[in-house]
Assembly symmetry: C2
Homo-oligomer: 193 residues x 2
DNA sequence: ACAACTTGTTCACTTAAGTTAAGAAATGAA
DNA sequence: TTCATTTCTTAACTTAAGTGAACAAGTTGT
């Protein structure tokens, strides 16, 4: 199970056995049931997550309405903004599926950094890459129509469309469930004719 | 002029005189005229920018149409995705105003890192913060209507509305210039009635 | 097996954004 | 200053998404 974590890290730096042990000595592997809420709105937290298996989702509650803004699946890491800003969380995180993940905080990170400083270099590279990727995603979102965004998701993360309820996908794509339903109908219609 | 740079850095770490000199010895300050194109689509580049004074903008050319996706003003840093991915750039960067900025690349960064390792820590923290901020921006964009997005920009970055042409703002807000014009008319109408 | 709840689809209707085109206003260059 | 270009606004029309409601299908718990 921890192999997934080391596979991930090996994309950035090569770990020695000692370094692997340094990580294992602090990392907490956790198994959470579908529907479990990991973080609530208004809650303060220092925890970052790394998904080994399953899917977690971030969503806001705007006047009683759920607005889903992110999905994190295998090999994806999430440090909620509230951890960075040190303010209460503005959103919820919950598990879309039964999920296995690691939970860590900055103290643990420092502990690992102390044992091998290359870890910090890796974290820097990782967050630079995530930032670049996030900006490209945002750019694509801004420059395309709801229909194009759905088609784009279909291409980039087809798994999500299978494993996540439509109403969550809809707000993730910036539209209402009814619109998504219509778009899907329109597309299958096109493919027929 | 370089005070702006040191003011910025001082938000993250306190610099000694030696460290300031280490930065000045590699950093390139550059003055660019309004309209200058810093990066072209298809071009490969290793340069990161930090705006000291002025405004630069990122935009795509999609079938001859300009799609603006970002503005970077005083105290804002931009490392184009092509620098991270090491592939040709998918977008253009140009100057909205006469601009003073620093241009640096990863070699220079390493040079500074070698002289004081705390610089790397700062870069890590910075990009983690930028990532958190970018995600919140994206979330806000996804969960709001074009009109709300305009109002949000009016609140968060009122300067942009003054210093940037409307048609660039429009695509930055994910809409057509005509729509932005209508939205503005609708809002001033509301404020009257 | 049944009721209760969740999820997805459909429909009729409303609202807002996209499109096309024309003209006004601002900007810049000669 | 004048002319040309760029930028912004307006209007009529088209298209697509939002809204509210009803219903069907699927799931969960008892």
């Amino acid at each position: 199970m921890q192999d997934i974590l080391f596979d991930f890290i090996s994309k950035y730096i090569t770990l020695t056995e000692d370094e692997k042990n340094a990580i294992l000595s602090v990392d907490i592997f956790r198994s959470v049931k579908k529907g479990t809420v990991l973080l609530k709105e208004g809650q303060s937290s220092k925890d970052s997550y790394f998904v080994l298996k399953g899917c977690i989702r971030t969503y806001y509650d705007l006047d009683g309405e759920e607005k889903t803004t992110g999905f994190y699946t295998e090999m994806e890491a999430l440090t909620p903004p509230c951890v960075i800003s040190k303010t209460p969380s503005e959103y919820y995180i919950s598990c879309v599926e039964d999920t296995i993940l690691t939970v860590s905080n900055s103290d643990m990170e420092e502990e690992v950094n102390a044992k091998f400083p290359r870890f910090e270099t890796m974290c820097k590279i990782l967050s630079e890459q995530l930032l670049a990727k996030e900006r490209i995603n945002f750019d694509e979102f801004k420059t395309s129509s709801p229909e194009q965004r759905y088609l784009n998701l279909l291409e980039k993360r087809p798994d999500l469309i299978q494993r996540v309820p439509q109403y969550q996908l809809a707000s993730y794509l910036g539209m209402k469930p009814e619109s998504l339903s219509r778009i899907r109908a329109r597309i299958t219609e096109k493919n027929k004719g």
